[in-house]
Amino acid sequence: MSQDIINKLTVLLPRANNWEDSFFSQSTLPIADDKVLDFIHKLSQTILQNSAFRQYPELMAMGFWMRKAHILKILEDYLDKPKNGVRLARGIVFHIAPSNVDSIFIYSWFLSMLVGNINVIRLSSKGGEQIDLLMETLNDLFKLPEFSAIASRQIIISYGHDDQVTSYLSRNCDVRVIWGGDNTIQKIRQIAIPPTTTELPFTDKFSLSLIDASKYLSLDDSGKNKLIHSFINDAYWFGQMACSSPRLIIWKGEKEKIIEAKESFWKLVYNALSKELADISTADIVNKLVASQSLVIESQISLPESKNNLINRVQLNTLENINTDLHCGAGLFYEYSINELEELIPLISRKIQTVGYFGISNELLEQFVYKHMPQGIDRFVPIGNALDFSPIWDGYNLLSEFTRIVYSNK
């Protein structure tokens, strides 16, 4: 690599290391190598036992996800042993992390590490407290001699928008993973990758919650409160700006039931939500006001009065061409009522990612997509699990995408 490029980037991890060209000529590691399993296990323990992490529920959730038993289960559930051949890591994976606070790229990095790849991660310049804390912890583990083979195969760098650096890293990777908005992805796609390199684009998506009104009303108080708690977690973590954060609530059922269910539901959300939990700034609130009044100007909606600005609701009267760009998160909820699942069809573009459901069986939801074959919807998860990462993301099985199979015929 030319000095020119080296000067443009900062190595965040491993600390004190400079970039060396030999990084790219290392061999990959075996799939689910014991050392890698130990490393992830050790990191999980550190996160769960270190009190500094307690204040970051997202990182705690990540620590749980990294537990050894869970990692082994992921391997068993999502990575089959090929009948005819041998599975190997693809090689060098170049991850371009999203510029917002979303730490989801860490999961895809770890899955790539788990199957033996060499990883280059590009962070946008500002990492934030959570990322800093994680880097600190990773750095301590990377210094241990037993993990040197792993440490030498991971590098986290940061550089400003610079096509020369991106181009260099793109030329040298076997898989390019891009997290970002449509514009970011289009811009990076202008930069060539080798003919044999594959690309995983994770673009901005839009997610919703789907609630059966009668089933909700039939819950007892503790059942209702449990659901409300789950919904608040889905909606308010990451300031409602993660791709999987629900921004639209679909109520299914008879009109009268829906009216009753909505009233009860939002009252309980109001009661359960505190300023601390919602974590919304004045700027967020003004953005929500601009977004909701802009929606009024651009489409047919109504704005029910809100008791406070932790929750702002917008009643849509059609699901066609709903404006998802105006949505700025921070507790803004579009709402719409349906009688039958079929009424969702106009909504389901490729942009629709997660459907968090309550009161509707996932068999029914599976039948729905099987029958109508919509362009979008990447996942159905019970309300409360919207932000859980799964090795199947946006329609890709990441463990498959990060490996290749050497076919061998007997």
Binding site: V290, I297, E305
Partner: protein
């Protein structure tokens, strides 16, 4: 609808701007603002949709705090006008950095006149009835292109009406024209001189060069009026008190008045009095709102500033939520003797961590 009669409005705009108590003023202003809300609801389709969505179209408003507000940023996103295109006599635009969208404000003949009248009434209260010799802290080209009124140009043009022998203090290279200044001061050695400039321009191009060169000038009879927002000065940790103190040391100007205003509500500005407080005239008012639920906050508590003005008849800008924070200091009892609310502006709403929203840029406050 009788309050909307232009004759009524013109008469009211000729009244002394600070003589009514808050109670008396609110009573009158409520009529004007209620009528404006209904009028814009009928004449501006976008605004009508917002009133409908809020379920506030045909309400009677019992207090000025009942008048619905729209965020000032909407003027950057949409063309909001309550008049047909052939009645537009002037279009005002906000200043704004290159990456930002600008507000567009459409004026008809009446609204333009109301703005001038309100401004005259307010300025006279500070400058007296006579036109004063005037210095502008800017260069003459700033108003050359009259077809497109930049906020700076429009502000200068608006205030030029209060001066005579209008003289620009800066040349085109933004340097102080000492020769011109000397001649000007020789001509008017004793009478009051009206000086106008944008806050940042005054600091950057008048104060700083003097400070850097270790020079002082002497205009003790000067009355400086300035506006445009403190954002750039805040970055240099310069607040209003520092500004006044430093400027006085370098220029001898003792009478310095900031004003708070914006392109979306030109005319009914909030001038700083001798006590350092911003005052609401009888043509406009402010309400401080709690971002938590938009409830009205008591005096002394800071919140988001809502501005109400009776002047905008050609566009729905009579009740706006700004992106500024402020506090009401008191009502009817400022030591300067002016009645009504007086307040301070604490600055822009701090930008939260940008979480990926595409439209989080705020507008610049400008005159």
């Amino acid at each position: 609808m009788c309050s909307m009669n232009p004759e009524n409005i013109d008469n009211y705009l000729s009244s002394p701007p600070y003589d009514l108590t808050q109670e008396e003023k609110e009573h009158i202003l409520l009529n004007f603002l209620g009528d404006l809300t209904r009028k814009h609801g009928l004449s501006c389709p976008e605004y009508g949709k917002i009133l409908n969505a809020l379920n506030k179209k045909d309400l009677l408003y019992e207090a000025i705090t009942d008048i619905p507000f729209i965020p000032v940023r909407l003027f950057k996103k949409y063309k909001l006008a309550s008049i047909p295109g052939n009645q537009i006599v002037k279009t005002l635009t906000s200043s704004g950095t290159t990456s930002q969208k600008v507000s567009k404000i459409y004026l008809d003949r009446d609204t333009a006149r109301y703005q001038t009248k309100a401004l005259v009434a307010i300025m006279k209260n500070y400058l007296g009835d006579k036109r004063l010799p005037m210095l502008i802290v800017d260069h003459p080209n700033v108003i050359k292109d009259r077809a497109s009124f930049s906020a700076r140009g429009a502000g200068i043009l608006g205030l030029m009406n209060f001066g005579r022998d209008v003289t620009y203090l800066l040349n085109e290279d933004m340097e102080i024209n000492f020769e011109t200044l000397e001649l000007f001061l020789e001509k008017y050695p004793d009478e009051p001189i009206f000086i106008f400039g944008f806050t940042f321009m005054v600091w950057q191009y008048l104060f700083k060069p003097l400070q850097q060169k270790g020079l002082t000038i002497d205009i003790p009879q000067g009355i400086l009026v300035h506006s445009g927002g403190w954002k750039k000065l805040q970055d240099e940790a310069v607040d209003n008190n520092t500004f006044k103190k430093e400027l006085k040391t370098r220029t001898g100007i003792k009478s310095i008045h900031n004003f708070y205003g914006m392109v979306e509500q030109v005319g009914s500005i909030y001038m700083e009095c001798e006590e350092g407080h911003l005052h609401t005239p009888i043509f406009s008012d402010i309400v401080i709102r709690d971002p938590y639920d938009w409830s009205v906050l008591p005096n002394g508590v800071s919140g988001v500033i809502q501005v109400l003005s009776m002047l905008p008849h050609s566009y729905p800008g009579h009740s706006l939520l700004t992106e500024d924070l402020g506090t009401i200091i008191g009502i009817d009892d400022c030591k300067c003797g002016r009645k009504g609310k007086y307040f301070s502006v604490l600055g822009r709403i701090p930008r939260a961590e940008i979480r990926g929203c595409s439209d989080t840029h705020a507008s610049e406050v400008s005159a």
